[in-house]
Symmetry: C2
Subunit: 356 residues, 2 copies
């Protein structure tokens, strides 16, 4: 893995002192963004391998991984953190967890913090479209794996879910029940999952012979409040949707709370399906139909890929499947009534339809 | 803060080399448990202040905190992690999060990892009754604050909830509805909250003129599976309880899933109250009665206390209040029927009693 390029050549090309280049390449936070960018660019151009050199210098691994999730309050990422940690422990690694809170600036602070604290590698659910901190991570060849999300143009091994199948099944299921106006609360278009799921939804609507209506799409940010805002916007339409597809679990929580407050009965007044199969969703009454993908497989695979990268390998990315699980929340067929009308009749029994 | 004791004197008393003492005191993991114990003991005896010395030596703070939670999948701790992180960021700190998964050995690995990675201080929800790693943390005067839980005999500032008021209100509420057999799924007695809540429950049962029955208490471990096991054990009794109090949110999730599978209707066949007010609990149908305490106040207070300790202060511990929030899950009055009988009638409307 060693090559002939030295830190002096990197410093010369970057136009900084050797001391500055060393600080940047060792992850010392006392460096300017401009220096970091210049050194990272020079290191990439010269194919300098600071990671292998540093590893040779310090002799031993740290046996710590960094895991940076987008939002720790999202049960999907809490489960992912648990799974990654358990898989890492089997290989003798502890996992330092950071929470980007869906903010790119917070993500970058964590990346800098993790790097300066010497982890052997980083598993990252990236927020946003890429940043200097992420590019620096790649340029310095710190072993990195993307999980759940990717960044266009960055050649990093990843483990993601292909939401297409699950979303297609959900739209087919709703269209077959007679729904022609399906609302969609989307994730942010700056994230790969936000884009991919929205594209799959739009394709599926057309494939099922429905007219795409931009008014039926609300763009949220994967956090709970935007799910509530989405319900407010979509049910406020002159022709509101009779079914709702929500692109992640936290926005679904916000949407359900808002529907609850409005007296809209799931599975009676409005059909609903959410992306992400969270344990609690099956306990709701009516139980929530979901698009399921395996967080356990995702966590274990992310650790496997990262260990391969740490060992000098270049593993192929892994794409996991998704599938629809129908429960009572989408048992309703489309009606002409407006879904915002409060109910008077009691709902179905606590023990009604539940296929999962 | 500096005193005259040097590392040579600590090493001499501990019977180790200065290099070993230095490695132990700087948190280097390449030290034996025996050396760590001897050096920690000698440092405590001599009132050696490695933290102040180390700070003086390295000149600057790291602006990173460690937060070690008991279980990141517990929504209470996920919310706590979010709150701590947001409060820490306001003061320029990033938070490295570790997950003990309710295991003392995993907790100790994280403590060693966080210390060796130079954090300015640690917020810890301790698992178990104390360990060498925790004692070493205290002996080395690494700024530490306990959150949610404490350890008997350790003089560490803490922020905890007094569950007594909430538990007393819950038992009074259930007794007033005619319940005489109240089941209790307890937290582990190795944790302070497990002990305190169980003691409050036992006192409240007696105060309300009910006969304490050891068979009505199941000791869980604060994780979901033990909530299911508790339901299995308690509903399998020849005289099962007509009401159930569950000591944390994750065990409540397990209990609800198990009741759901058995066809037991909450608020109809069995009254239920859970400790911890999780957003989702209000969305269940029937909505779940809870004992509420403020995770936001707890997180903010933990950061405030830790910053005071880092600045050399000795802040007093803070105890936060708890209170009962009655929702539909405990609206039922006691009946003679066995709660394990599956229902035939539909449950109440989705929009029935909900005081919160």
């Amino acid at each position: 893995m060693m090559n002939a390029i030295t830190i002096r050549e990197v410093a010369a090309l970057a136009g900084v002192s050797v001391a500055t280049a060393s600080r940047v390449l060792s992850g010392n936070p006392a460096t300017s963004p401009a220096s970091r960018a210049r050194v990272a660019s020079a290191a990439a151009e010269l194919d300098f391998r600071p990671n292998a050199q540093a590893r040779a210098l310090r002799g031993a691994r740290t046996n710590a991984l960094g895991l940076l999730v987008s939002d720790v309050r999202n049960p999907f990422f809490a489960d992912l953190a648990h799974t990654v940690e358990q898989a890492a422990i089997l290989h003798g690694y502890v996992t330092l967890l950071g929470n980007a809170n869906e903010r790119a600036d917070q993500q970058d602070r964590y990346l800098d913090t993790l790097i300066s604290r010497r982890v052997d590698g980083i598993i990252l659910a990236p927020v946003g479209a890429g940043s200097d901190s992420i590019r620096s991570l790649i340029a310095r060849e710190i072993p990195t794996v993307f999980v759940d999300r990717t960044i266009a143009g960055m050649d990093v091994p990843s483990v993601t879910t292909d939401g297409t199948a699950g979303i297609r099944q959900a739209v087919e299921h709703l269209a077959a029940a007679g729904h022609t106006r399906i609302g969609y609360i989307s994730g942010p278009q700056a994230s790969s999952t936000g884009r991919d799921r929205f594209a799959a939804f739009t394709r599926s609507v057309v494939e099922n012979g429905l007219s795409p209506d931009p008014a039926l799409v609300y763009f949220g940010d994967y956090q709970a409040a935007s799910g509530s805002a989405g319900v407010h916007a979509l049910l406020g339409l002159r022709k509101p949707p009779t079914a709702l597809l929500v692109a992640d679990s936290l926005m679904a929580v916000g949407a359900i709370a808002s529907l609850h407050d409005r007296g809209v009965r799931l599975g009676v007044d409005l059909a609903m399906v959410a992306f992400d199969d969270i344990e609690w969703f099956a306990l709701l009454n009516p139980a929530l139909s979901v698009i399921s993908h395996s967080v356990a497989d995702m966590g274990r695979t992310a650790v496997d890929l990262l260990l391969q990268v740490i060992d000098g390998g270049t593993p192929a990315s892994v794409v996991l499947p998704s599938e629809l699980i129908v429960r009572a929340s989408s048992a309703t067929t489309a009606t002409a009534g407006t879904p915002a009308t409060p109910p008077t009749a009691p709902t179905a029994s606590h023990n009604s339809v539940r296929t999962h």
